[in-house]
Amino acid sequence: MSAPTTTAAAIFNRSTPAKRVEQGAFWLLRLATYFVLLSAATIFIDIGWKGGRVVFQKQAPFINVPFLTEAPETLSVFEFDGKKMALGDRAFRQFSAAHEEKMKHVAVETYAYSAGGIFPNIVGTVLLVFGSITIALVLGVLSAVYLSEYATDGPFIRFLRLSIVNLAGVPSIVFGLFGAGLFVLTFKFGMSLLSGWLTLAFMVLPIIITASEEALKAVPKGYREGSLALGATKFQAITTNVLPYALPGILTSSVLAIARVAGETAPIMFTAAFVMRDELPWQGLSKWTDFFFQGVMALPYHIYNVASKIPQNEYTRDVQYGTVFVFLFTVAAIAMTAVILRQRLRKKYKW
């Protein structure tokens, strides 16, 4: 036992190997976090800055309305009377008609999709997301209820769970080919919204089933028992006293699913997405069921096309960044509605 003074000295500022390791580890953790933050910030600032310049403008109405409301057009660039002109399809045709003689001798460069807007793509993505999430939620919640409430644990159920988890690891291109084979070709749905919905729904089912099962398990056992003890059937107990309280958790899973569904290109490029389509989904339908059997344009596929399928230059770059910016915003907006819905439900069923 040493004297009290030395003990006191020992308490303060003594550097031990363990403390040095602690310090080092702390900095390593901190740097790793900052690095992640920096990467994310770089991506968002780059997209926000370059894409923002396309989507927003200095003059009223401050938003580039044609970009959001028109279909993609081919951009024609040419020199006319010493002036450099860049016109979209319709404007170019009018211009050439007006200056027919002179235009014969003008060399015109054309760039696909670099003029006009991306309205059909926004519409297509929103349709694909809502349709596939609806299908995935219905199928997923039904399976989750079966798995967590009805199925008795056994080798078969364990195998089923394992398969579902494994499904989450399947690359999206495989889902795309599966959808093309099954829905497009075998069921003859063609390149259509329906094929895309089903393919995307199958892709996110594992997320939704797993999360819904967790949400159902998180509902206190007392609510089930309380219902059953009052003479409810199991189904009544689940529908009145378990599922409503699990809904916020289920919606959390759907937020993740929305981000995935909206973002994936591979599953829709063989099943639903067109590079270019003139009609909007509600135009030119001879009967209402045609709605489900038409292909659509979609934002992620459009990004893929403008980024890799056409020659690159400063005109295509604008449409790339603008599309990416709008894409991020659209996904955020859809996810936000799910978050708001969840908040409302949480307030309603607090426990």
Partner: protein, 283 residues
């Protein structure tokens, strides 16, 4: 009959017996009808046997208390009476019969839903649903399809009065039940159970999470309810069993050790283990 009623010589009385107040000479009617007859019941959770050869009869419109240390099987037996144990995988009655009004409730033809309407249950942890007080009380009737507003209103008032809760909550029937105090929540669960008009109410340690004042209110309620219902209560609190039950069964390690009038169990137990338990020397 109960095997352990063979009377060994009582052990020496405890040095300082705990003061135990016993319900004043409960009028135990020996001719009262046995509503629940438990006959040589064995019960297993998978491979482990939780109840051994239990035989006892529960009389109509009396309070029967199950006491015993943790893990003695008293809650298991209680949950056999409305087949709540069916929910547990691998749990089942392996021998014997439980009859309610003469009907073997484990007969495959018995409708569990109907059984549970007639045998209500109040749980250890009060479990009001995260709905309004009104919706909690009417839950049992609504799932049976009762939609008549006037009838539901009437049941709400009658049940809440029955649970001595009406005056406290009559102005906030449509507020969330989770805003009530712990004791009120448990009485709400009792009101919810009596709203479906069962014959028998099972209570699984209904006061274990309540403070003494709330406990006293629930006990008072139990006292009033036995005029109308047959009540079986599991409790860890021996004073509670002594205060509010007519008959008491003492369980130990899955066996029924002794079953008699509450007064006898507490004042003059036949079995030395019972005597040791009620005087607080173990458990």
């Amino acid at each position: 009959m109960v095997t352990t009623l063979a009377m060994p010589e009582p052990v020496a009385p405890p040095a300082a017996p705990r003061p135990v107040s016993v319900a004043p000479a409960a009028p135990v009617n020996p001719a009262a009808r046995a509503v629940i007859e438990i006959d040589d019941v064995d019960f297993c959770y998978g491979a482990s046997k939780a109840l051994h050869d239990i035989t006892l009869n529960i009389q109509e419109r009396q309070v029967t208390a199950f006491i015993g240390p943790s893990g003695c099987g008293k809650s298991t037996l209680l949950r056999c009476l409305n087949r709540m144990n069916d929910l547990i995988d691998g749990a089942k009655v392996t021998a014997g019969q439980i009859r309610i009004d003469g009907v073997n409730i484990y007969d495959p033809r018995v409708d569990v839903i109907e059984l549970r309407k007639r045998v209500g249950m109040v749980f250890q942890k009060s479990n009001p649903f995260p709905k309004s007080i009104y919706d909690n009380i009417t839950y049992g009737l609504r799932i049976q399809g009762q939609k008549n507003k006037a009838r539901l209103d009437e049941v709400v008032e009658r049940s809440l009065r029955g649970a001595a809760l009406w005056d406290e909550v009559k102005d906030r029937l449509h507020e969330s039940a989770l805003g009530m105090s712990g004791g009120q929540q448990q009485r709400l669960c009792i009101a919810r159970a009596i709203a479906v008009e069962p014959e028998i109410i099972l209570m699984d340690e209904p006061c274990s999470a309540l403070d003494p004042i709330a406990t006293a209110k629930v006990e008072e309620l139990i006292h009033g309810l036995k005029k109308q219902f047959t009540i079986v209560i599991v409790t860890h609190n021996m004073q509670q069993a002594a205060r509010c039950s007519d008959r008491t069964a003492f369980f130990y390690l899955g066996k029924l050790i002794e079953y008699a009038d509450t007064r006898t169990i507490f004042m003059n137990p036949a079995n030395p283990q019972t005597e040791a338990y009620v005087s607080g020397r173990f458990g």
